[in-house]
Symmetry: D2
């Protein structure tokens, strides 16, 4: 029952983030996977996302955006699976107060590629504050960037 609620909430959040956040639509950012086992956020290279025309590199702000979205979703799923007796209402309320406190991005390599994929892990799970690590890879598996984010989850 409760795991149904968890899965249902995550699926709804994924749909909102995938289709109804204006800035995600502008960038073409999509939620490829979002369940209790984790999240995968994808973005396809397109000319509008370029930061350096000569070298055709993904703008660092796009990298930051993807990692921040991944971190928020990771922190939220960590909260969702943290206990069995959440109600839908409680989780909706938590989602509304979910926010990034701080974010660190380490740019490792130039953002070359066709499709970029962001994944994350909770490294400190709290009832109020969670800390996540995020990574961005291109379609060849090159490690483009690391992220560390502190999120308010309640």
């Amino acid at each position: 029952m409760s795991q149904d609620i968890q899965a249902e909430v995550l699926a709804k959040v994924a749909e909102v983030f995938d289709k109804h956040v204006p800035f995600h639509n502008l960038l073409g950012l999509g939620i490829r996977r979002y369940d209790a086992s984790g999240v995968e956020v994808e973005i396809k290279m397109k000319p509008e996302l370029i930061g350096n025309i000569h070298q055709k590199i993904l703008h660092g702000g796009v990298t930051a955006t993807v990692l921040d979205v991944v971190g928020g979703l990771t922190a939220f799923s960590g909260l969702v699976i943290s206990r069995d007796n959440w109600t839908v209402e409680q989780l909706q309320q938590r989602l509304q107060t979910l926010s990034t406190i701080d974010l660190r991005i380490d740019y490792l390599r130039p953002g070359w590629g066709e499709v970029f994929s962001g994944t994350g892990t909770v490294i400190r799970a709290g009832n109020r504050v969670s800390v996540c690590r995020m990574e961005l890879h291109n379609e060849k598996g090159s490690h483009i960037a690391f992220g560390t984010g502190t999120y308010m989850v309640g």
Copy 2:
């Protein structure tokens, strides 16, 4: 003579960042001021930049983008004014290798507003690596976010 070169290079860079970076055009990000005394980057709120539909808050990725652009421009202007005998060619070469090593963003308040303005200061000026502090305010002077960035400048 040299100050002319400095001013000329900064003006050119401002034009490129203002008009010829695809991602800046997509967002509507503009360079309002860029000279030896500093930089001001501006972005006007528009529906596509929203991250939270219910609260109409600027997406955290937009904040990160503005602060990263401010930081890069601040680091570069710090380099430009660091000595008098730069040639245009030397500065162009430095600009090409300019890159963000790491970036920390502290989100202070929800991104509400009509026009957001980013400014920065060099806090560690090096021949190879510079560290800058950046700030984002809205048109009422509310402090939306702080940034700290480490930039490769040579």
Copy 3:
């Protein structure tokens, strides 16, 4: 009445941090000032604090320690002055759960000097989480390091 409680609590905390924290005693770290207007933490150079023998530079871990202590005290004083009706018991409880979530240090200049002084400011004041900026200067006013810390305050 309440401002008396606030001042009393801050004075007690200052005494504990100054005299009863073993690691502060080991380093010779002292609380020079701690009231509603802010905090000043001081550390005198001594041979044991050196990290680089040839250049006689303060160890980066000492810088980190001072900035972290400053940040925690700054966050706590921000909480104390945030409302008038704290009881001593409530503040004691908050102090016990006070902890650093994350800390960023920007090392600006080599740590040369006789006496180092750390000061701080709250940049995001929350009921649960606060973000502070900290600075370390030597006795000549040279800016040695910047810090940014996120603290759990409740």
Copy 4:
């Protein structure tokens, strides 16, 4: 031949960091392992390292110190193994300019334990700047803290 030089240089550096850095002696910080495969820095709990008397927690400044030392040694070993034809003199010169640009620490759990061990990995290897990730565990394998550091290596 060159691998001999590399091993010799790392062994010498390990000896200096283990025995001749005053602040390391004060804390009881030791280099347990330092070779081409990585570094392990160890610190034993002792009353002087406590930051919270009631809970007997390792001071956050000790955690920061260990992670910074680990990060610097990791960055340096990454440089040493980056090419085969270093001379001892070149590496000594690089060691003298080795410095921390910035450091982020994520405190995950209270620092309880008898022996703490710090390890690290290079995540961005450059000829001038390297970025490392560091971790601190206690003797039971509990993950106490994460670190991310940017180091000047040349």
